[in-house]
């Protein structure tokens, strides 16, 4: 298989060795069955060891793997009857964001996601999945449309961040992101967000204000890309791996901090090994959460979403105040 990451190299070596031995045996007519079986057993043990201890920097590379399924790949496998819709009705159609209507297990839903390109040409058209304001506004338009017709919203997050360009700034990149946060928090339908690859900064969050935020096992999510953090903190972008470790960007870290609700398991070695298995895993999780949320009415859904984000943050209150009963602290006048 092509596209192995550095940490998978011991496995590649071993596969090569096994293949060589098989070939040698066939050519020379020698029976290496026992040796091969032994090697294959060792391979399984090594693979288990490597794949069950994937570090944060390794996940950063997995999340960015060129073969990793994109939003459109997953949409095609998870839903049926997907009809892609275009444009923000104000400026243009940003291909870094895709969206439309589809059916999930027969139920109509609205799907929106950031879309990386599959090759260089595609990537250039899609700005590598980094949206301009019109991309965020297209997403919002589709989400409001979903709200009008009572469809749940499902979003896929996969972006290094919002597009950092002059045209994006001129058209109000800040406002576009901020408006999405504001509006998403008030949507009267269930919102389920899945971080499928890289969740970078405000550009990711602009599609991720959901009742439930799920994360693929090897996806990452952070306030700034590890590369960006490294160049700001240590003036050295090559220390991205070190930053990845320090920034707590993995699904396990985020589950512990209660930023996400669930880790969606990936096929061994990453979603790029088996698109269908990854898609099935996501479909099951999304469907389960959707059913849980379907008993809530609009006000309860808004309240549930508000509570989810309201409680995030860690800080200390002054000793003086914390000794006072809650009511007194809150009514300081």
């Amino acid at each position: 298989m092509a596209g192995e990451l550095p940490f998978e190299m011991p496995l590649v070596e071993m596969r090569k060795k096994i293949a060589e031995l098989k070939q040698f045996g066939e050519e020379k007519g020698i029976d290496f069955t026992d040796e091969i079986l032994r090697l294959e057993e060792r391979y399984r043990v090594l693979a288990d060891e490597i794949y069950s201890n994937i570090s944060a920097p390794q996940k950063m590379h997995l999340a960015r793997h060129h073969g990793r399924p994109t939003s459109l790949d997953l949409i095609g496998l998870i839903f049926t009857d997907f009809l892609e819709l275009h444009g923000d009705r104000q400026f243009g159609d940003d291909l870094a964001v895709v969206g439309g209507i589809a059916k999930l297990n027969g139920r109509p839903v609205t799907v929106v996601g950031q879309q990386r390109g599959k090759d260089t040409k595609d990537n250039i058209q899609r700005f590598f999945g980094s949206a301009h304001p019109e991309g965020f506004r297209k997403a919002m338009r589709l989400m409001k449309q979903a709200e009008k017709f009572g469809r749940p919203v499902i979003t896929f997050i996969d972006t290094k961040g919002a597009y950092p360009g002059n045209t994006a700034e001129e058209r109000g990149q800040s406002e576009a992101i901020a408006r999405n946060l504001y509006e998403m928090s008030m949507l009267a339908v269930p919102v389920i967000c899945v971080i499928i690859g890289e969740g970078g900064s405000g550009g990711a969050l602009a599609l991720a204000v959901g009742n439930r935020v799920l994360m693929l096992e090897h996806a990452i999510y952070s306030a700034i890309s590890p590369n960006g953090a490294a160049s700001i903190l240590w003036k050295d972008a090559s220390k991205a791996e070190q930053a990845a470790e320090a920034m707590k960007i993995t699904a396990a870290d985020l589950l512990e901090m209660e930023v996400i609700e669930e880790i969606v398991p990936e096929p061994r070695g990453g979603a790029h090994h088996d698109y269908e298995a990854a898609a099935e895993s996501i479909r099951d999780a999304v469907w389960r959460h959707l059913q849980e949320l379907s008993s809530l009415d609009a006000a309860e859904l808004q309240e549930d979403r508000y509570r989810k984000f309201r409680k995030i943050g860690e800080f200390a209150e002054g000793s003086q105040e914390s000794e006072l009963p809650e009511e007194e602290v809150q009514s300081v006048e």
Binding site: A162, Y163, P164, G165, N166, A168, E169, E170, R171, G172, Q173, S174, E175, I177, A178, R179, L181, Y182, E183, S185, M186, S201, G202, L205, A206, A208, V209, Y221, S222, A223, I224, A229, I232, L233, A246, M247, K248, I249, D253, L254, M257, V259, R305, Y306, F309, R310, I312, G313, E314, F315, A316, E317, G318, S319, Q320, E321, V332, E333
Partner: protein
């Protein structure tokens, strides 16, 4: 009085009195009584004009020569904006912790606290403006570049909730370098938290005036700072999402000097008004009056 809150430390360029003494004063070797006290004169960081610090302060730290609006810290901002009496601070003792055990964060926080005498990058509270009660949040760029971590997000959110509950107008002066990296995902989530609180406030019919001061970028610009019913900026204030250097690297072009300034944003439809610091207070009072519909029609 708010003047008492002013820190003696001056954050703008000062001319050491030694240099002034040298030119015509007593010789360097014996330095008797200093005739010109430290910090008497200030230099404009933009045009270089030297003026009396006192005059500059009277002019609200706007350079009389070129009109450059120098940065104010949160206490100075409150002093020049709100009515002199009756400000009640909220959550003054809320402090940052180091939730991710991020390398160097704890010591950086300590350093920022002793440098500024402040505990965090925002002051929130209730005060009055021309007699109108308002809930106010004022960010402080001096502290950790005004970056938003859990404390900034929580204090802003509580202020918004307070305004919602008391049905009072909300006034936020933003200035920030963006999210506080050292709190990574928790700081990113503050963008959603503050915006969600503003959505509720907005639904309840509350008036939110956002004032952009230099500089307002990143996570703050892409959340509450951009959500005002009215968005006002000070002249020359930088307001944008991505940093200039990052953009120049992305597009491989040099950006114009006025890129992301208040005037640039006004021209591109991203602001309601650009208001000189001297007129800010009266403009805000006017806006509050225009929204005061207690009497009905």
């Amino acid at each position: 009085m708010f003047k008492d809150l002013f820190q003696k430390k001056r954050k703008y360029a000062t001319i050491p009195s030694e240099r002034l003494e040298r030119s015509g004063g007593p010789s360097e070797g014996e330095r008797p009584k200093r005739e010109i006290p430290e910090g008497l004169m200030s230099k404009c960081s933009k045009c270089g004009t030297i003026q009396y610090s006192k005059e500059l302060e009277k002019n609200l730290k706007v350079c009389p020569a070129c009109g450059h609006h120098m940065r104010l810290n949160a206490l100075e901002r409150i002093a020049v904006t709100l009515d002199p009496e009756g400000f009640i601070e909220f959550d003054s003792e809320m402090t940052s912790v180091d939730p991710l055990q991020f390398p160097g964060y704890a010591s950086k926080l300590e350093q920022q606290r002793s440098k500024t005498g402040q505990v965090e990058a925002v002051i929130t509270g209730q005060g009055t403006l021309g007699g109108h009660p308002v809930i106010v949040a004022v960010m402080n760029f001096e502290f950790f570049s005004g970056s938003m971590g859990s404390v900034v997000g929580e204090k802003i959110t509580r202020a918004v909730e307070e305004a919602t509950e008391k049905k009072l107008p909300l006034l936020i002066f933003s200035t920030s370098g963006g999210a506080r990296m050292q709190e990574s995902i928790l700081s990113l989530m503050q963008m959603a938290k503050t915006s969600a609180a503003l959505a509720r406030f907005g639904e309840s019919g509350g008036l939110y005036i956002s004032v952009i001061t230099d500089p307002t970028t990143g996570g703050v610009s892409a959340s509450f700072a951009s959500l005002g019913d009215i968005i006002i900026a000070e002249p020359g204030a930088v307001f944008g999402f991505a940093g200039r250097i990052v953009i120049e690297q992305t597009i491989r072009q040099k950006l114009p000097d006025d890129f992301q300034t208040a005037e640039f944003n006004l021209q591109h439809g991203q602001l309601d008004l650009v208001v000189h610091r001297k007129e800010m207070r009266s403009t805000l009072i006017k806006l509050l009056e225009l929204h005061d519909v207690k009497g009905g029609f």
